[in-house]
């Protein structure tokens, strides 16, 4: 008995911590005791069961004590309890890293995988997949029994997804609505196992439990399955007979989702480039055979099987033209999208997954040690990313579905890079930051989502906002994070005496984030400043703004009596610069009254070249040009250092931003 107790001592201690979290939550009276206050302790209990005879890692005591202190102080500020709740979640991720070293991948991932599934509402493409799965399989539950039209669908019956993935997950619906994620959960675990085979168990665990892997871990989305297929293809031995399987995998990826066509093309190009030199004739025949074979299969599917496997919306000639327009007609704009895909706070790869910087540094080592495998990972990942940006343009991020999910197929490449630099101190720092982000997302499920409106959910949670955003900032500002990221990669690569610089880079980045944005953006106005006015479009889904030709920011509509903005911190002599648009409405700013009439925009020539014929856009708020109105404030405009901006009469007025220029001291 004593021996058993000794062997499992660390598991008992973990279980006691699970009970302690439960008790502390209740003793401290923290919010959400019924959900977060149960699932986090339960995850620790599950981890204790799965821990077996493993010893606890050294982070355990600081995690216990900082959680207790955090809960002790939770009332200091309304959101402190979420940060306190994130501490034990971070501890679970650290625990997973520590036990995964000896081939215990599933055990390590399971508690967090379940937390991920439980804390994420069925969202985004999941709903469409579920409706499609219910339609094709007949296993329909009440919730998903009817299909609903969404932007991008061909018709009510024909969505914009291929039927392969819905058919794959359909059997799960036999268990009801909750069974929707049953097969995706297994597919995620298979993906993690394949990653473990490709690299090391702890690297696979890190890739799964940190962003971007965590964003859709266990959810009914295609990312982890695509990752699994891609990794499986990389793991296949070299040789002619395996080429056919890789070709089949490339086709499966396209059948899974059209977005993966870049990945598929990359797999075939990598296959071609990895073939032994010599026998040139055969080497040129192979790509021709692949292309011919691909076209034959597509034609077979479309005309014999009625498009049941591959048919989605690839027949749209405008999409092909848009690809041309993005690459040839506006290469710099497309380049900026590529930059935002790395650095945008809401959806970019690096802000949510800082560990990727270490992985990029490790790729140089990985390439030296495994040139062939590097090629098989790098070429498809690069093609996937480039195709995504070139094809999707400004909607590359796929928000509001979980931020970061589109990067999941690139994880095998980054995981191999991470494995090469795992033991470096700089890597550890970046991993700590990544763990903190994942833990926050689990503790505060809304942080999983963003709306491409410049207000990142994690920054909002911690009480700050940044003017740096893909919908707000000048793309030239991308040079700043690019400089910091390149510096970090160099520091990790060089190591040694440059080690301290990693902190300097992180602190510089944090310093830049901590600088409050100047002026007031419509989306960021505090509730006490806005009375009655609402944001346009009225729903936050960025799909509503995908096809706007000017700014894609949400704008504040001031349209009815009483709707107003109370702007604090102004004095007589100050000047307001208000970005407005409208069709002739009267706006009052203090005692000033002026008409807001801005011209309708013309359709940009780029879109005319891809087949749109309307020259003048319809009179919708998003099609009116936004102009800056300058309003000098006099003594009678200001009351208690506040000026009221309100609608007076006429059509609605739309406001994007207010800047205050303070009067010069005489």
């Amino acid at each position: 008995m004593r021996n058993t107790l000794r062997q499992y001592a660390h598991s008992f201690i973990m279980a006691i911590f699970g009970v302690w979290i439960f008790l502390v939550w209740r003793l401290a009276g923290m919010p959400d005791p019924g959900f977060a206050g149960r699932i986090i302790p339960a995850a620790w209990l599950l981890a204790a069961i799965l821990n077996g005879k493993e010893k606890q890692n050294k982070w355990f005591v600081p995690i216990v004590l900082s959680f207790t202190t955090g809960a002790w102080l939770w009332m200091l500020y309304p959101d402190c309890w979420i940060i306190a709740a994130a501490i034990p979640v971070a501890g679970l991720i650290a625990w997973a890293f520590s036990i995964s070293g000896s081939h215990r991948v599933i055990r390590a991932v399971l508690p967090l995988l379940l937390l991920s599934v439980i804390t994420a509402e069925i969202n985004g493409d999941e709903v469409r997949f579920a409706e499609h799965a219910a339609a094709v399989s007949g296993f329909s539950s009440e919730r998903f029994s009817q299909s609903h039209f969404r932007t991008g669908d061909i018709s009510l019956e024909e969505g914009h997804h291929t039927p392969f993935f819905p058919m794959l997950i359909a059997p799960g619906l036999l268990a009801g609505d909750t069974g929707l994620r049953l097969i995706p959960l297994i597919l995620s675990l298979l993906g993690v196992l394949l990653l473990a085979k490709l690299t090391e168990p702890r690297i696979a665990v890190a890739a799964a439990l940190l962003y971007p892997g965590l964003s859709i871990l266990g959810l009914a989305m295609t990312g982890w399955f695509a990752l699994g297929l891609f990794t499986f293809g990389v793991l296949l031995p070299e040789g002619k007979k395996w080429s056919a399987i890789r070709f089949f995998i490339a086709l499966l990826l396209v059948a899974l989702k059209m977005r993966y066509i870049g990945l598929s093309a990359g797999i075939l190009i990598a296959e071609y480039s990895c073939m032994p030199t010599g026998n040139r004739k055969k080497k040129w025949l192979i790509p021709a055979a692949w292309i011919g074979g691909g076209l034959f299969i597509l034609a077979l599917d479309r005309y014999i099987l009625g498009g049941v496997i591959f048919w989605s919306r690839y027949g749209n000639i405008e999409a092909v033209r848009l690809l041309w327009a993005n690459v040839i007609q506006q290469p710099l704009v497309t380049l900026s999208h590529a930059g935002w895909s790395l650095f945008d706070p809401e959806a970019g790869l690096i802000p949510r997954a800082p560990w990727v910087l270490a992985a990029i540094s490790g790729l140089f080592i990985f390439r030296r040690n495994h040139p062939s495998r590097f090629k098989r990972l790098f070429i498809p990942s690069l093609f996937y990313w480039l195709f995504l940006i070139a094809w999707s343009g400004p909607s590359w991020h796929g928000l509001p579905a979980p931020a970061g999910r589109i990067f999941v197929p690139m994880l095998p490449l980054f995981a191999c890079g991470l494995a090469s630099v795992w033991n470096k101190k700089e890597t550890r720092i970046l991993l700590i930051l990544s763990i903190a982000i994942s833990a926050l997302v689990i503790a505060s499920p809304v942080c999983r989502y963003n709306y491409a409106d410049g207000t990142d959910s994690i920054l909002t949670l911690i009480g700050t906002s940044s003017g740096f955003s893909m919908v707000r900032a000048d793309p030239l500002l991308l040079l700043v994070p690019l400089f910091l990221a390149v510096s970090m990669v160099i520091v990790i690569t060089k190591g040694g005496k440059y080690r301290g610089f990693s902190y300097v880079i992180i602190l510089t980045a944090v310093f830049l984030i901590s600088l409050s944005a100047t002026g007031y953006e419509a989306e960021d106005l505090p509730t006490e400043m806005v009375q009655g006015a609402r944001l346009y479009p009225y729903i936050s889904d960025p799909v509503e703004r995908f096809f706007w030709f000017g700014s894609r920011e949400r704008i504040l509509e001031v349209a009815e009596p009483g709707q107003s903005i109370l702007l604090p911190g102004v004095e007589a002599g100050d000047t307001l610069f208000i970005e407005l648009s409208g069709g002739g409405g009267l706006l009052s700013v203090g005692e000033n009254l002026f008409t807001v009439e801005t011209p309708l925009m013309e359709l940009p020539s780029l879109f005319r070249s891809i087949g749109r014929t309307t020259r003048i856009l319809p009179d919708w708020p998003e099609n009116r040009a936004i102009e800056v109105f300058t309003v000098p404030l006099n003594a009678h405009d200001v009351n208690n250092s506040t000026v009221r901006i309100s609608h007076h009469s006429g059509p609605p007025v739309y406001m994007d931003r207010i800047d205050i220029s303070k009067k010069l001291i005489e």
């Binding site: 302690w20 209740r26 003793l27 401290a28 009276g29 919010p31 005791p33 050294k58 982070w59 005591v61 600081p62 995690i63 216990v64 004590l65 900082s66 207790t68 202190t69 809960a71 002790w72 102080l73 009332m75 200091l76 500020y77 309304p78 959101d79 402190c80 309890w81 940060i83 501490i87 650290a94 101190k425 720092i429 700590i432 763990i435 911690i462 700050t464 080690r499 301290g500 610089f501 902190y503 300097v504 992180i506 602190l507 510089t508 944090v510 310093f511 901590s514 600088l515 505090p526 509730t527 006490e528 806005v530 009375q531 009655g532 609402r534 009815e560 009596p561 009483g562 709707q563 107003s564």
Partner: protein
Amino acid sequence: MRTRDSNEAAVILAGYTAWAAVNLLRGFSLASLPMLAVFTLLGMCMNTAMFPVLLGSALLGLISPVLMPWSLLVAGMLASATGGEIKIRVTGFLAVASTLWLIPVSLSIPLAIVSVASTVLGKKKLRYMLIPAGFIVSALVTGLPGPLTVEPVVAGSEISEGILSYHIPEVNTSRREVLLPAPFQGTWAVWIALEAGGVRDSIPMLAVRLGESMLLLPSGVDTLSFTMVPGDTLAVTLMKDFMPFNHSVIHATAGGERL
């Protein structure tokens, strides 16, 4: 300061510089002074198990002025309890003491006592037990430290086609009062639906005020309606103080129509 392979001095100085830069550009804040102690700790504890928590606390404090006191106290308490060397524990104590000095101390005495005791105590295991023990005493006897700001929150509102709706945040012991100002012209009928709970008695737990009139309500579900004119403000206030095993909370939705 000696700089070894891990560049402790560089880390400490980088932290000080970031602190100075933030204060210069955001405006000097006396409350941010204890950040210096946390950056010192960060440099001193680079190879210890508490480093991840210290790093997180330091960055959180730097980014977010509102979360800074919380992160300073967590980092300071952790360092004073788990620091192997006395200089780490003293620096942790300084971070705690200088933060407690700047916030209301009425309920923070247990924190101060735990911090002092863990700084001077030599036995590691005893120090580890101090924080949980202090927390239990605080929760059961003295109460937990309350919110730093007692100003009420103003609810956001929207008027659309003559229909008013408010966006009301959750009210709990950390956010005790929410105000619903009238964002309209003329006379409106306003309703508010309240769901209050998380308590273990039936004593009135919230007050709804409009002008001179006030209504006290126990936990449960209630819907109230009022007539409001410009200048009126409806206030919902949680009357319950912190009590262990109570999760006092009010969820409210409100809206209105022009009469």
